[in-house]
């Protein structure tokens, strides 16, 4: 979050102030990368670039506060993913190798990883094992830091559906850790 300075930073960035744009970038780029790491890991960097390009092009027409800006950026990010998937579906023969898709590999033993403290990448890899909608809802809530209504808007779902998706996602994660616990890993 940039906070109270956000309007000034946004305004400066819109006028072409690179330092100001850099602040927006530093605030959101890590979140975007993490979101893409779960949704389309093979293309995370490219999708982030495409997203920023679209942000720059539309910046002078954006109006809104910081949460709205974040929601807007992630709306763009999501469209980039959908586009990328469409393109990827068209060129099946060039499909990314499976090794790309699962890298970083989900830890064999997430519960042990939890005890040691997750690395961010390992945590994302665990979330990526959730069903797509659940993973996305959790990512948008947690990593993008958006509210239920914003996530609902971005995903084109009702707020109640988003609540259910995140709830199921959390539960599923807990189940996974619980299974490890029962097996005596923890």
């Amino acid at each position: 979050m940039i906070g109270p300075e956000f309007p000034a930073v946004l305004d400066a960035a819109t006028r072409g102030d690179e330092e100001a744009f850099g602040r927006l970038w530093r605030d959101l780029q890590p979140r975007l990368l993490r979101y893409f790491m779960v949704a389309a890991p093979a293309a995370a960097e490219d999708l982030a670039s495409e997203t920023w390009l679209a942000v720059v092009r539309g910046l002078d027409r954006f109006r809104g506060n910081e949460p709205a800006f974040r929601a807007w950026v992630f709306t763009i990010a999501r469209h980039e993913i959908l586009d990328w998937r469409r393109r990827a579906a068209r060129r099946v023969t060039e499909a990314a190798p499976v090794s790309d898709l699962v890298e970083p590999a989900a830890p064999d033993d997430p519960a042990a990883a939890a005890l040691e403290g997750f690395s961010t990448r390992a945590a994302l890899a665990v979330v990526a094992t959730l069903p797509g909608d659940q993973a996305e809802a959790v990512m948008l809530r947690v990593v993008a830091g958006l509210g239920v209504d914003q996530v609902a808007g971005i995903m084109g779902k009702r707020p109640g559906t988003v609540r259910v998706l995140t709830h199921r996602g959390l539960r599923r994660l807990a189940e996974r850790f619980g299974a490890d616990r029962i097996r005596g890993v923890v």
């Binding site: 850099g22 780029q29 982030a48 720059v56 961010t120 109640g160 609540r163 807990a174």
Partner: protein, 287 residues
Amino acid sequence: MDADDASFAEMRRRHADPHADPLALDEETAEQLLSGRLSPSQAPPRYAEVAALLAAMTAEPTPEELAGQSAALAELRAATRPRRAAAHARRAARTPRRRWAGLAAVALVGALVTGGAAAAATGNLPGPVRDVARSILGDGGGAGPVAPTEPGQQPSPAGQGHTSTSTGPTDGSQGGQPAGSADHGPDPTAAGNPAGPDMERLCQAFLAGKGAEQGKKLDATAFQYLAKQAGGAEKIPSYCEQVLAGGAEPGEKEKQQPPGGGQGQGGPPTSTGAGNQGQNDQRTTRS
């Protein structure tokens, strides 16, 4: 959705009887987990690892994640350079905004004919109007290769030629969308002129085309409108000079207009023009 309703019931039931289900998670706790307000030790026992996982997801950025900043900014600079350079050149030289005028005129033609500027950008103009739009843009060719496509290439990023749902989801809920969208008004200059045609821009476009094929242009609805405002096609040049000098006085204007000629377009052209011109300046600076 039945599944969702069932799940809400599920959530309530588990909340009511936590002992029946060790993984029970009420909505409030879920919300606290999601927003990072529960540390692993504060979380329900079965959710301690989940809390640790969520904390890791929102950990401070790693150096790797931020490593690309200078490259990314350079890329963005390169991608936007033509527009910035053009904007800068316009400011520096204080040249007439031919290109803007041309673009505005295209949007305006669309607005006049179809009631929506989108037609101008999407190529849905009726033939004669399209010809005029092309001739204006062609005349503005001295301004560089950017003119005809730029407005179409700056859609609302949310639109961006993606799915048709693209602008829908967030519009209502956040009010944070850009003012324009690819579907409704890609050219910001058009969006700033909802009340009616901007005589100043129309005149700029007209004068920019002087000596080219004005006769042909006058077939267009937009220029018929201009002729009507001026009190006749032959009076357009002098009328436009007055408009652009900021001097078309209301009295004179009325005199010049044919009786009963479409006066429903709002206030005096010059005042509208001045207001929009100011916006245009600002926008040029910001682009």
